[in-house]
Symmetry: C2
DNA sequence: TCGTATTACCTAAGACTCCAATGTATTTGA
DNA sequence: TCAAATACATTGGAGTCTTAGGTAATACGA
């Protein structure tokens, strides 16, 4: 598990990217996907996930759709056009920031 | 200039790494070095730098030494042994986190 | 020599982001 | 049948950085 401070600022980027790749997803599914992609090393907590999803929705980057699964109601989130362009932007920003950090820390740009 | 949220959690790592590479530095010098290494794209503000330096000192990672330059007094910071090992650890953590982020965002691990 | 930019230190109030804890309820499977 | 997993959500607080402010010495061009 990583030092949690580093995650700050990346949560929105992760969520937007996952939705860009997968079309629509519901909250719990996002947590599982992040866990899987990170080999268990990132664990989104619900206390950070749901407020962030609601915030992104309020900003017009996401829309929701409710789906009934028997008695249970699932809430799917998907990108609006604004959300799609923001996703692209955030990923670019992240890559640029990484380049800068590698320069400042004078690390090799090759991670593997 | 990068979105400031991304910087969160990396400030201590940057400071410790610079001190590991340069022996001793004073506050203003650190801001200039970061600016230089990042091609002007990172600008440490004093409001974040000095509290962080003081915190690292309080935690025993740094020590200080005052140097008189005429009437002006410069405060040099340098790593303690604990600071040195923490620096190494923080850089490793950062690299590991980057690898994870690249996996989660499904980006190429080659930045250049 | 006067004023501005730069060097150099610092603090305080607040914003923002995330986490831990807590709550509710359904479904799956041993 | 009952614990674990699925699935949603909120609240209070902790931590980190920014904005804005303050002080003072030095360098340099007009």
């Amino acid at each position: 598990m990583h030092s949690p401070e580093l995650l700050k600022g990346t949560l929105q980027t992760i969520i937007l990217k996952l939705l860009a790749d997968n079309g629509k997803m519901y909250g719990y599914e996002i947590t599982q996907k992040v866990k899987e992609l990170s080999d268990e090393s990132l664990q989104l907590t619900e206390g950070s996930l749901y407020p962030t999803l609601h915030k992104l929705e309020a900003e017009g980057l996401l829309k929701t759709e409710k789906m009934s699964m028997g008695k249970r109601v699932r809430k799917y989130y998907f990108l609006t056009p604004l959300g799609t362009s923001t996703a692209i932007q955030k990923i670019q920003d992240f890559e640029a920031f990484m380049k800068t950090m590698f320069q400042v820390l004078q690390l090799s740009t090759k991670l593997a």
